[in-house]
């Protein structure tokens, strides 16, 4: 290899296994750390940068050059955050409140499933049949999916939530579904443990928990709709 010092092409080629996707992901995450942006804002800015990079690459720039210029043109994070903050005030708080409740729903659902698992875990193995196996595996599965979504930027859960954002009713029904399902699992687990003896009482007891989920779903519905209306002006 020619090792003249003035060989920009060679230098570039040596260094660049430039990962455009990762660079954009990093840029996006940096931006998303500013509380002034809402999810849709960052999506929109990213879509802009993607278009800009594609066009610059079309002009013959390398991916890295295109990325540097595109992100420079779109503006620096703090300056953008300042501009976005002016308009986002109220919507931002609704956004935060909404995701807090969604977070509560996710954790409660998971906790409820995990409890069913824990209850059944102390039953001697010889009594276990197919149903508790399902009860066993589900929380682990759900936990794994949640964890993977948290670790990876493009996980299943954020993508799903992103889609549901524009559909308040679907979002609320999903929360209600998670709640009902986790309660059903608890009832089934107890049914299995007690051998039908306490089922009726337990179902009645859980109706109270169900109302809790109903309220949560209702709050989610109202907030998500309010948020949509704000976004639609």
């Amino acid at each position: 290899m020619d090792d003249r010092p003035h060989n920009p092409d060679g230098l570039m080629e040596n260094q660049t296994s430039f990962d455009l996707k990762a660079a954009i992901r990093n840029w996006r995450q940096n931006l998303a750390q500013s509380p002034e942006f809402r999810t849709g804002d960052v999506d929109e800015l990213e879509s802009h940068v993607q278009d800009s990079v594609a066009e610059l690459e079309g002009c013959g720039l390398s991916a890295e050059e295109a990325f540097v210029i595109a992100t420079r043109r779109v503006g620096s994070g703090p300056a953008l955050a300042e501009e976005f903050a002016r308009g986002n005030g109220q919507a931002l708080w609704i956004d935060r409140g909404l995701w807090m409740i969604v977070g509560w729903a996710a954790i409660s659902g998971f906790k409820s499933m995990a409890e069913s698992t824990a209850q059944i875990a102390f039953i001697p193995t010889e009594f276990r049949t197919d149903l508790p196996l399902l009860v066993w595996i589900l929380p682990i599965l759900v936990g794994a999916i949640l964890l993977r979504s948290l670790i990876r930027a493009e996980g299943v859960v954020p993508r799903l939530l992103g889609k549901l954002q524009g559909r308040p009713l679907a979002l609320a029904l999903t929360a209600l579904g998670v709640g009902a399902f986790s309660l059903l699992l608890r009832v089934l687990a107890l049914d299995y443990i007690t051998g039908h003896r306490m089922l009726r009482e337990f179902i009645l007891g859980n109706l109270m928990s169900l109302s809790e989920w109903l309220i949560a779903a209702l709050v989610i519905l109202v907030m998500a709709r309010r948020k949509l209306r704000l976004a639609k002006a």
Binding site: D41, G166, A231
Partner: protein, 116 residues
């Protein structure tokens, strides 16, 4: 010295909304394409900090001038904006105001003796 080629900051800020309204008046589009058409039409003399356009778009949306929708095209998700009735009215008002400034200035400049 004034740079005659580029628009001043103040003028860029003042003309953003009428420019957006005018581009959208020709049909719906997304932010990146909107910036591109303004750049092309102005011969590169109107240069926006691209990201700054979006808060303006969002403000115009809240004001009811435009509406938006996420859509997938060419394998990429983009947020498309289009004019609403309120926006058309705003566009007409802007047109009148800018024309007033324009004709006034033109009238003043015409009287200036030209060098032959």
């Amino acid at each position: 010295m004034h740079n005659t080629a580029m628009l001043s900051k103040e003028l860029v800020a003042a003309s953003t909304v009428p420019l957006v309204l005018s581009v959208l008046g020709k049909g719906e589009t997304y932010g990146y394409a909107l910036i591109q058409s303004v750049r092309e039409l102005s011969g590169g003399r109107i240069e926006w900090t691209e990201g700054m356009l979006y808060p303006v778009l969002h403000w115009m949306e809240r004001e009811g001038m435009i509406e938006s929708e996420w859509r997938k095209a060419e394998g990429r998700r983009r947020k498309y904006y289009r004019l609403r009735k309120e926006g058309r009215k705003a566009l007409e008002a802007e047109q009148q105001q800018w024309m007033t400034v324009h004709t006034t200035l033109m009238g003043l400049w015409k009287t200036k003796p030209r060098l032959i």
